[in-house]
Every structure is written in structure tokens, then in C-alpha cells.
Symmetry: C2
């Protein structure tokens, strides 16, 4: 059973993932799984639904049965989950240390039945299907009060941690709000208490006026390279209207989001020639009866602004970043945005 | 001129390194520099001292002149520094954002004149020379009151960010205490205020008694896989006696440190077959007349415990780690330690 362990000095948690347990020779061979070139062996293909755990959700416009072909997106548990819903959520002491059972969920979201279609080739409807799937999984999982935070991300390219070629995202549902989103919540709250405004609303309004870091915008959404981008060519995509919770998005607004995503990802792909990247969704956790520290999360709907980040992996995080949590970015965001804006 | 920019939501700083400025095609070619196979072209060889900026420090037992052969270790400014001592340390506002001039220092520490000798081949004296060099640079740089923190690290292997093959470490001196060491200081202080004991002293005593996560120890030093290791096969090396500041180390104690380092690095190299890793030194910043937040850093000598971390880069940091600052470690530290302890 996997477990969480608390790193006291660095004030963060690590999942010791025994389900994925690796001995030294597992690392020696290769740190990446082989891409599957024989698509009949790919577990994410039509007809191979029995090669994955049973599906949890799928978009099936033809009304086909679960675990059969006909789906446009398909969600199932990760075969080697970092966390499991069956594990204990109990917190325990161990000498001077703290640990917790590996309770949570770890799901795979296959975004297209097409083995050869990657995110830079997605059309508007592919993005809409992907976002509907994200939304439905978030809404469903937060019904379990033991789940405090849902993290959805995509690893694109092997340098970004992708292990299977067929396009997919992952969802990890956690019994705590992780360190980074927690910091973002506290910082947003600090700004709100001082100014009675949302930080991200202010940032978006300013960037839209200045223009130099903007990549693309339409009525409801904007993509830009933020002023203090930690990674070269880092991109933020956010609604221009204030909303804390991604899962409240309507199909109408989703069209504008899909439009911005499609143009932005294509521009990134052309500018850097198919770069590896991670995509991350930040959305406010629910404010519920069981929320701990109610005084912190009170009014989270006013001060948190959901958004997506695209983090290109074209430099290597090294001893500076790993040891300080500061970053070195060799491309000023305004230059990155200019390249991205101008590429055709 | 490079500059620091503050990322408000993530509460961290990024160095926008214009000296290393990269346009899209710089990333397209390769994210790593080519290893130099013709050693006559390596700027870290005897006779090539004029291919680096002038040296700042060197160990020269033969009394040879600066910038000539004869050295055992040699330190000079990075040719493409992230920070410069000539840059302004001034803090400025920019609309809603905060920035600071790129003041600091960025040095290269060549640890051996031998192009083919890597850290896993270092003998006891090589390690002693390396640590003397670290110590002397730290002592010298902290004489500049504008420098608030010195970060020394080594990138070993290209997946760990190494760009030139010849063995070297880097030193970055900063005008602020970075996020991660600052957290470690605050956490150590919290523990000390509660228990009147040093957290790391307690951890070392416990691990030494339990034994299952210990790799190697002698009279004064210990190496072990810490309970909440963020990376598989992560290793901590620390003095068994309490000391906050690495730069106070005597030559006598350094022998024991070199002994632990040599055995530990060799064991890691054998167990994982020359894995890439980052090595990081954590040492308390000085408590001086100009220290800001004196009430925080008061008694830092009592509560901070200097140590070294070795972070193997055999898994890929992906969308989970980058988006949450939590970690997934697929090898329990007690298993990693067993492999490392038993390898011959």
C-alpha cells in the first residue's frame, strides 16, 4: 500500500508509491517506457478496452456500451496508481515522523481514440470533449468528502514524463490541498484582503492593456506569457471573467476556451518545433461543511481564479532549481510572447 | 542585464537571465551542449586557463601563478552568469509586479585537473580539496554584506543539467535567502522553539539507532536515505555533531566527511550504474548586523544543521510534481538504503 510521508524540513509531502515499486535495475534499463509502435498493442485503442481497468466515464455519442469502442474520450483508473480510493486516509506518527495512508484516486483520461492525434492537432471539438471530461470527473469526485483537492495534468513528450505515446491526461485526487495550490490560495487571499480585488483579474486586465506578453485572446479567454514565468515559453490561459471553479464552466464559454487552447498550443508547437511540455489545471477546491481552516477558505470564490498553465520542458531543472525553489529562465516572457504571437 | 522577478501566486522568484538569452532555435538544436571529446578544447584543462574568465581562487600546492597550470581546484566566474556582482541590487515596482536587479555572483568550481575523473572516482584528497574550496569561497563571499545566501551545487550527468563533461560544481550567491532554504530555516526554528532541540540532530540520532535507512557512518559523519526522501535513492550526508555553518569545518573533521562522501558516491554509482544526480549543500546564512528579520534568525546557530543532499535524476519530474510541489517516489528509502549498504 502506498503512503504519504511528511518531509519536515522542506514542509512538503511525498507519496511512497509501492504499487509502482522500483528496484535499481528497473531504472538502469531506461527511465521511459518504450513507445508502442504496433498500435494493436496500445491499450488506448478501439477494441483494446479490456486491456485497461474498467472505465469510469466516457463520452459516447452513439450510445455504445461501456468498455467497447465508440467513445470519444475515456477515463479509467491508472493501472499502477500512486493513490487508491480503497486505501486508508488515516494519519499516523512514526517516531518523530508523520505519515498518512495512500488514500486518493489516480485516473487516466484518454482524450481521443486516434493513436496519432496529439494535442497540437486537436480541433475545437477535441478540446471541448477533453474539457467536458475534466469537468465531469471533478464534479463527480468532489462528492467524496474525503477528497480535498483534484489535480489534472498532461505530460506531453518524453522529457515531460510521458510514458505512452497515445494522447492522455492524468487526474490525481488527494486527501489534502498540495503545497503549491495551497500557496496560490493563500497568496490570492492576501491580495484580496488588501485590495478587495482578485489578483489574476488585475493581472489579466493589465496584460491585456500592455499587450506585449499576450499571445491570443477572444471574448472570454486570454493566453499570455506571464511576467514572472518560471519556465521559458511558459503560458497561462485564463478566463477574462472572474470564476474560481473550473467545473462550473458552461458549454458556451468552453467554445472560447477551446479556441484559445487550439491557437496557443499550435503556435507553441510551431515556434519550438514540437516541444515537450506539462499542462496543469489550477481550480479552487470546494468550500464545504467539512472544510478545515474555514477562516482561510472563506470567500475562496471571490479571490481564486482558475487557470491553465503550459510549462515547456526545454531546459533542465538542475541543482539550482531543485535546491532553492527559485528558477532561471533564459527567455524573457515578452520575447517568448512575441515569437508565439507572430508565428503563423 | 539579468533581473529577478517575483511570481506572486507561487510566492517565488525567477531570474530572467538575459546574459544567457535564448531564442526559439537555440532550444530546437539540443537542450544540452555537446560533450567535448577533443580535450585540448576543454576550457577546464591545464594550459587552457585563458579560455575562462580570470580565476578567483585555486589550490596550488606548487605555488604556481594564477591562470597557469599547477592547480588542484580552480574557481572563476561563469562565462554566462545568471547574476553579476556589478549589477544593481535595487528593488523596483513595475505596475502590479516586483522586480530586483540581477545582483549576485555565479562561479564555476573545477574540482580536478583530470578531464576523465568524475566524482565517483574521487579519492579522499580530491574530496578534501573540493570541500576546502567550497569553504574558502563561502567565507570570502559572505564578507560582502549584500550577499544573503550562498548556494553550492553540482550537476552530474546530462539529465541533471550538466553541460560540460569535465567535473565541476557551481556557486550562486544571492541577495535574498531563497524559498527552499528559507522554509528549512523556519521549520528548524519551529522545531527548536517547541523542543529546544535541533530537528536534524534528532533525525540523525534516530536513524543511526534504527539503522535501516543508514548507508555508511564513521565517527563524525553519516549518510542515509531520509524517511521522506522526495527522490528515489535520495541521500543525506550530515555531521553527527551539531553545527549550523559548513564553512566552520576543520581539516580534521573534513577527513571524516570525505570518507563518507567517497564511500557513498561510489555505492550510488555501483548500485544504479553511473546515474545522473544533483548534489546540493545547505548551510546556514550568516547572522550579521544587517540581517533583516533578526527575530527569525536569532539563534540560527542552535537550530540549523548544515548537510549535503544527493538527488538522483532517474525519474522525470512531471505534471504532478511541477503543479503541486508534492512528489512521487517509487522506491521506499529503506529499500534504497539496503541496496546501497549492501553493494560492494
Amino acid at each position: 500500500m502506498s503512503e504519504f510521508r511528511y518531509n519536515y524540513l522542506k514542509d512538503t509531502w511525498v507519496i511512497i508509491a509501492t504499487e509502482r515499486s522500483k528496484r535499481p535495475h528497473d531504472y538502469n534499463v531506461s527511465i521511459y517506457e518504450e513507445p508502442i509502435t504496433d498500435i494493436s498493442k496500445c491499450p488506448f485503442e478501439y477494441g483494446n478496452e479490456d486491456k485497461t481497468p474498467p472505465e469510469i466515464f466516457a463520452i459516447r455519442p452513439d450510445g455504445s456500451n461501456p468498455n467497447t469502442p465508440g467513445w470519444l474520450t475515456r477515463v479509467f483508473p491508472n493501472r499502477y496508481p500512486a493513490l487508491r480510493i480503497e486505501n486508508s486516509p488515516i494519519s499516523e506518527g512514526y517516531y518523530i515522523f508523520d505519515k498518512k495512508g495512500g488514500f486518493g484516486a489516480h485516473e487516466v483520461i484518454v482524450e481521443t481514440p486516434d493513436h496519432f492525434k496529439h494535442i497540437q492537432d486537436f480541433d475545437q471539438q477535441d478540446f471541448i470533449n477533453m474539457f467536458i471530461t475534466f469537468r465531469e470527473r471533478i464534479k463527480s469526485l468532489y462528492n467524496d468528502y474525503r477528497i480535498k483537492y483534484i489535480h489534472i495534468f498532461k505530460n506531453h513528450g518524453k522529457e515531460a514524463g510521458k510514458s505512452l505515446v497515445h494522447s492522455h491526461s492524468q487526474l490525481i485526487a488527494l486527501p489534502m490541498i498540495p503545497k503549491q495550490p495551497f500557496t496560490m490560495i493563500l497568496q490570492s487571499k492576501k491580495y484580496f484582503l488588501e485590495k478587495e480585488r482578485c489578483y489574476t483579474c488585475d493581472e489579466i486586465k493589465l496584460e491585456s492593456q500592455l499587450g506585449e506578453r499576450v499571445i491570443y485572446e477572444n471574448e472570454n479567454f486570454i493566453s499570455y506569457c506571464s511576467y514572472a514565468s518560471l519556465y521559458p515559453f511558459e503560458i497561462k490561459i485564463a478566463p477574462k471573467y472572474h470564476r474560481h471553479d473550473f467545473s462550473t464552466i458552461t458549454e458556451d464559454k468552453m467554445k472560447d476556451l477551446a479556441d484559445v487552447m487550439r491557437f496557443t498550443v499550435k503556435k507553441l508547437d510551431k515556434t519550438l518545433i514540437n516541444p515537450p511540455f506539462n499542462m496543469v489545471l489550477y481550480s479552487a477546491p470546494p468550500y464545504r461543511d467539512d472544510t478545515i481552516n474555514k477562516e482561510i477558505f472563506n470567500h475562496i470564490n471571490n479571490y481564486f481564479h482558475w487557470h491553465i498553465e503550459i510549462l515547456p520542458r526545454i531546459t533542465t531543472l538542475a541543482g539550482f532549481e531543485l535546491g532553492t525553489d527559485y528558477y532561471i529562465n533564459p527567455t524573457p516572457p515578452e520575447e517568448a510572447a512575441k515569437f508565439l504571437r507572430e508565428v503563423v
